[in-house]
């Protein structure tokens, strides 16, 4: 087991300097997701206009993997059609399950591939993506609060 496979430099950079951290106003879609077994939480907000993710912000607390994954996700989906964002979430989860995915589509997210070798940490990496999938199925102005029940 190589720690450097897990804690790649990009990940540590996003952990220390999270992108898109903050909040949007109440017209955005809001999702609160919490992993009750470890206490990690995320508050994700999406502004979708004309089917495109115009803006996205998150707040949260958790380990380096969960917070870096959230930060990287926001960068990856900003400006994308929401369907594409959801497809990316599916690919990301497949990557965590150790399945073959087209890494070219994943861009920087490929750095998180190493997490799949640390079974205890996979749920950290997927928290933000689960929040995204919920958000995609919720109308604007609504607020969803849920717990995850593992992957």
């Amino acid at each position: 087991m190589q720690l450097d496979d897990l804690y790649r430099q990009v990940i540590m950079d996003h952990y220390q300097h999270p992108r898109n951290r903050g909040t949007l106003d109440e017209s955005a879609i809001s999702v609160d997701l919490r992993n009750p077994s470890c206490g990690d939480e995320i508050h994700l907000q999406l502004l979708v206009e004309g089917g495109v993710v115009k803006d996205v912000r998150f707040l949260g607390s958790g380990c380096s993997i969960s917070m870096a994954s959230a930060s990287m996700m926001t960068e990856a989906i900003k400006g994308k059609p929401i369907e594409e964002a959801v497809e990316l979430a599916h690919s990301f989860r497949a990557m965590m399950r150790g399945e073959d995915v087209d890494l070219e589509h994943m861009g920087e997210l490929e750095a998180l591939q190493g997490v799949s070798k640390f079974p205890a940490r996979i749920k950290c990496a997927t928290l933000a993506w689960q929040a995204l999938e919920r958000a995609a199925s919720v109308p604007h102005g609504e607020h969803v609060e849920e717990e995850t029940f593992g992957e």
């Binding site: 087991m1 720690l3 897990l6 804690y7 540590m12 952990y15 220390q16 077994s37 470890c38 206490g39 990690d40 607390s61 958790g62 380990c63 380096s64 993997i65 640390f118 205890a120 940490r121 950290c124």
Partner: protein, 410 residues
């Protein structure tokens, strides 16, 4: 006692973890099992397996005898007056729920109070919340000192004639504090209240004498004391068990069953509906044999000495915060700590890469985490097979983690 020698009895301790010697410091979550316990389970299944209290055949008698002998073994281990005060359960959680359900709900009235510290494990907290909701009773929390200890004068102030139940852990699974349960029992009894002691972290690590402690109920788990998972104990004073209602109804626990009404056996059997945890009880008895051969007072000294050493050395590391009693002050065999802003999950992952197994998370004590104002903490907990070498490995791994996360320590 010689921990190096004892280690040879625990096959799992020779596992290699990520290329390293296993340094198992998650004993407060569950302990490892010695060959003697594993063999007792195998022997039972290979030679005596049968249902209990039912058949007239030879195996039925052997299984029943072994199961009831295990009850006697437990009674001796905690110095209960009679084996009939020992109920086999699935573990601490089930024991505490049975008390809250079968005893507390029938006794509590609106305006009654349940007194407890905010540091309790969820299993000694939520059953009381639920009982309070169902009856109109209220929870009243004892204040904690900054070092996690509880002052007797605060107990004196909180316990009144309205108090019906005091619920408290003998040893806190997060703070490592040893609560003065004997003195608290005395205060509770003076006001006509009963005391429920969560012994999950004390019974495995120190001599227990329920008569001397004068607790009314005591709950603990076999798996934290070298026994198998799935077996635990509910001790209750005979007169309280007699009053207490069963939680589960069905086979084994009945006396006469009519179409519209039934009657129960006497305690403890009325609480053991269905086929009981026979092999588990036999495994637990073997674990108690093993522990007593080593000596509970010896084990208590050993675990506390390792924890004291770990606290002292961890506290020297810049950026480490210790929760619970500071170095030099008495504590049981566990240490809860954080390393700067490094999340405990990240810390535990780095330690695991070095073969060091610790717990990271909220330790089933969310209200306490909120009091500390942290989402989670790391915890190292010791047992009879741990050595000073294990403490060295822990400290070295924490130093490595500090180096690895350097900048994030802040």
């Amino acid at each position: 006692m010689n921990a190096e020698e004892l280690r040879k009895d625990f096959p799992i301790l020779s596992e290699r973890i990520n290329g390293h010697r296993l340094v198992y410091l998650d004993n407060a979550a569950t302990s490892q099992k010695p060959r003697q316990v594993i063999d007792a389970l195998r022997r039972y299944y290979e030679h005596d397996n049968s249902n209990v209290h039912r058949g007239v055949h030879t195996l039925g008698s052997r299984a029943t005898e072994a199961y009831e002998a295990a009850r006697e073994r437990v009674a001796r281990f905690i110095r209960a007056k009679s084996p009939q005060e020992i109920v086999f359960t699935r573990g601490t959680t089930e024991s505490l729920n049975m008390i809250a359900h079968g005893y507390a709900r029938a006794k509590l009235r609106e305006g009654d109070e349940i007194v407890l510290p905010p540091s309790e494990h969820h299993s000694n907290l939520i059953p009381w919340q639920q009982a309070a909701r169902a009856t109109g009773a209220t929870l009243r929390y004892l204040p904690l000192q900054p070092d996690g200890t509880i002052r007797l004068e605060d107990v004196e102030a909180a316990v009144t004639d309205r108090t019906k139940i005091v619920a408290i852990a003998h040893v806190s699974n997060v703070l490592g504090t040893v609560n003065p349960v004997r003195e608290i029992a005395e205060i509770a009894h003076r006001h006509g209240a009963i005391i429920v002691v969560d012994g999950a972290q004390s019974v495995p690590h120190m001599p227990t004498d329920v008569v001397e402690m004068d607790c009314d109920f005591l709950a603990f788990s076999g798996h934290k004391m070298l026994g198998p998972t799935g077996i635990g104990v509910l001790y209750g004073k005979a007169e309280l068990l007699a009053e207490m209602e069963p939680t589960y109804f069905g086979g084994e626990m009945i006396d006469v069953v009519d179409l519209y009404e039934s009657t129960w056996k006497e305690a403890p059997w009325k609480f053991e509906g269905g086929t009981p945890i026979i092999a588990g009880a036999i495994g637990l008895a073997a674990a108690m044999d093993y522990l007593e051969r080593v000596g509970m007072a010896e084990i208590e000294r050993h675990d506390a000495a390792l924890a004291a050493k770990a606290v002292e050395r961890l506290a020297e590391i810049d950026g480490v915060t210790i929760f619970g009693p500071p170095p030099g002050q008495s504590r049981a065999g566990l240490v809860t700590f954080n390393l700067g802003r490094v999340h405990p999950h990240d810390l535990a992952t780095v330690l695991d890469a070095r073969g060091v197994a610790i717990r990271a998370g909220h330790h089933c004590a969310q209200p306490l985490m909120r009091l500390f104002n942290v989402p989670a903490t790391a915890r190292a907990s010791f047992y009879l097979y741990n050595t000073e070498e294990d403490v060295d490995a822990l400290v070295d791994a924490v130093l490595e983690a500090k180096e690895f996360f350097g900048h994030a320590i802040g």
